[in-house]
């Protein structure tokens, strides 16, 4: 990893819970709490967790779709780093939005059905005033778009067609092409393969990793699929109820998990071996508590096999264990 791209410190996101005729705020959901991260050129930060753990909120806060709290420092290619939380001047705003792109989970929902593929791909360029003024410039833009499509494994003649004419995997390729037309430095991938068929998932993963090798761009890879996150990531954060419970190098976290939740997650992944059938002996019971009624101590305490009195009352801090490894557990 050479240049830094994005750095988050104490990132938080609260969503209001509103009730009644006047939509009075009656409570806050802590969707994301005290999240620190750094991501540099060519690196991949993996985020794993189950639904409701805050991983999608995190991706959206990073891309500034949701306005978070705390600090999110962007290091541009040239010039001084700046915090992108709060209001920004237009140049900085545009620079950030150009360099940080996003790929969404569901390619059936993320492409406008009334736009042709060419229009879908041209829209980011138009938003940034890069689609060209003269006829000659426009022609070169079209050629570039055709190029992009071929790069993601589609034919250039797809430009004139509409999203409904494509399969899920092909649509996700179009979404990937759209995220790349502005030559971003960081792409946030929110469950990019979970809506796709098994046989197509690996095609899309290969495409993403191939592009990364060629261009040196960075990914934030959000998924509930442990094996997949391990495959693509350098550094992994395991999230539970809006907090990081364990983080570290991908291999370290998976080979020697220190947090009971990480252990439980790993034990819940099918073994692919009928002689093992380890799912049938897994000892994890219950479900995550409602984020509105979090336990006062460790959020995992009600389900944790190791929990004791201290876990009920005190929320564990994320403690460092060297080499970027951090764990939030009283017993780690």
């Amino acid at each position: 990893m050479s240049g830094m791209i994005l750095e988050g410190k104490d990132l938080r996101k609260l969503f209001p819970v509103k009730k009644g005729v006047f939509m009075k705020t009656v409570a806050w959901v802590r969707a994301l709490e005290r999240f620190d991260f750094r991501i540099g050129e060519g690196g991949t930060l993996g985020i794993v967790g189950e639904s409701g753990c805050g991983k999608t909120t995190l991706g959206r806060v990073m891309a500034r779709i949701h306005e978070g709290e705390g600090s999110l420092i962007y290091h541009p290619r040239e010039g001084e780093p700046y915090d992108v939380i709060g209001s920004l001047d237009r140049t900085r705003e545009l620079a950030f939005r150009r360099d940080v792109q996003m790929i969404f989970q569901d390619p059936y929902a993320s492409l406008d059905p009334r736009m042709t593929v060419a229009e879908v791909l041209r829209e980011p360029l138009e938003a940034h005033g890069l689609s060209g003024a003269s006829a000659a410039e426009r022609r070169s833009t079209e050629a570039m778009l055709a190029n992009q499509l071929e790069r993601v494994g589609l034919h250039a003649d797809a430009l004139a067609r509409y999203p409904h004419e494509f399969s899920g995997g092909q649509r996700q390729r179009i979404a990937i092409a759209r995220s790349l037309v502005l030559k971003p430095r960081l792409v946030i991938c929110d469950e990019p393969t979970s809506a796709l068929d098994v046989s197509v998932q690996s095609q899309v993963v290969n495409l993403l990793t191939g592009i990364q090798r060629e261009e040196g761009l960075a990914y934030v890879f959000i998924s509930h699929n442990l094996e997949l996150v391990r495959h693509v990531s350098d550094h992994i954060c395991v999230m539970y109820l809006g907090r990081v419970v364990e983080e570290g190098g991908a291999e370290a976290v998976f080979d020697a998990p220190l947090h009971p939740y990480t252990m439980a997650l790993l034990a819940s992944a099918p073994s692919w071996d009928p002689k093992e059938k380890h799912l049938l002996d897994s000892k994890l019971y219950g479900e995550p508590p409602s984020p509105l009624r979090l336990p006062p101590g460790c959020p995992f305490e009600p389900r944790c096999p190791k929990a004791s009195a201290v876990c009920k009352n005190e929320s564990p801090e994320l403690k460092g264990f060297g080499e970027g490894r951090k764990v939030a557990c009283h017993f780690a």
Partner: protein, 332 residues
């Protein structure tokens, strides 16, 4: 063990405005008491249509069905609707993929459970209702719902997805069916919850001796719960094997599609490498041509595969079957 369900030459076709969709074509299989048979395939391969055909959920002039569906030796396909209905939810029960969509949001789960019971008893007096309610509480207890006496009066939106899936299973089990059809019962659930639901189905099979038709796209799950596996592709069964043989490195799959599915699993040894994948995507049912349906995506395909469609036939020494010309040594 007695054979519960015997399907022979089942085809289900839908007449649409665009043409005839052959969703399921000429499939045959059987399930014995106490056996879990997995039907595996990607979206659109016909696995759900097979389940719904067995349950008799398709009626009307736009659906054409052929073949036979025998339950304990009795032909169900030509039964009048009233008699067919007496099987549905009693002898054979079905649980659906999305528990959130399977309930009526306006009735308590208890009311829906009591209805499911009263549909199959003669009376609906106060005493029958009270009896049905007791039965429902017991059913909820057996699937591991805490405080079933209280939970039974909750509305569906008050329960989480994993809880609702348990309730759905409880409804399916209330009338003590001898066959349970589970259509992707864990796909909408988180991993740690999936492990619990799989364990539940597995344990209930052991306790009650019911047969289970387990439909899934996830071969990892198959290895955990099933005894035998049938792989579907584009409306046909392309491979039948025991789970032990399919995942045994010394035996393994016989059909290139099954091989591709097994290989596209993300493995830790392949970190940083390309993942093996199956090129192309699943054909749309209207686009099927003659020959083997997998041939356009198959690396082993030869001229014969494009000409003639292979039928299921014994492959290997362990009793597997595959629909592939490779078993004859030549595809020329």
């Amino acid at each position: 063990m007695e054979t519960l369900l015997e399907i022979a030459g089942l085809s289900t076709r839908f007449l649409t405005f665009e043409g005839e969709v052959r969703a399921v074509e000429d499939i045959s299989f059987s399930i014995a008491e106490g056996e879990i048979l997995a039907l595996v395939g990607e979206s659109g391969c016909g696995k759900s249509v097979t389940a719904r055909s067995v349950m008799g959920l398709y009626r009307g002039s736009r659906v054409a069905q052929e073949g036979s569906i025998r339950f304990r030796g009795r032909e169900l396909k030509d039964l009048p609707e009233t008699e067919r209905a007496s099987y549905r939810g009693k002898e054979m029960a079905m649980i659906f993929q999305e528990p959130m969509a399977a309930f009526d949001p306006l009735a308590t789960v208890g009311a829906q459970m009591i209805d499911a019971r009263l549909a199959h008893v003669s009376g609906s007096s106060g005493r029958d209702r009270a009896e049905a309610r007791n039965l429902a509480v017991e059913a909820l207890r057996s699937v591991g719902i805490p405080d079933p006496e209280l939970r039974i009066d909750e509305y569906p939106h008050r329960l989480s997805g994993g809880m609702l899936q348990r309730v759905l299973i409880a409804i399916g089990l209330m009338n003590k069916p001898s066959l349970l059809i589970a259509d992707e019962p864990t796909t909408a659930l988180d991993m740690t919850i999936q492990a619990q639901v799989l364990r539940l189905i597995h344990d209930l099979r052991n306790e009650t001796g019911m047969g289970v038709l387990f439909i899934t796209h996830d071969l990892g799950v198959v290895a955990e719960v099933a005894d035998r596996v049938h792989v579907m592709y584009a409306g046909r069964i392309v491979e039948k094997a025991s789970v032990a043989d399919l995942f045994d490195p010394e035996c393994g799959p016989a059909h290139p599609y099954t091989k591709g599915l097994l290989e596209s699993r993300v493995r830790r040894e392949r970190k940083g490498m390309e993942l093996p994948s199956i090129p192309g995507s699943v054909p749309r049912p209207l686009e099927l041509s003659g020959g083997c349906r997998f041939a356009p995506r198959c690396a082993m395909a030869g001229p014969r595969c494009l000409r003639e469609e292979p039928a299921l036939a014994p492959a290997g020494e362990r009793g597997s079957e595959a629909a592939c010309w490779l078993r004859e040594g030549s595809v020329a």
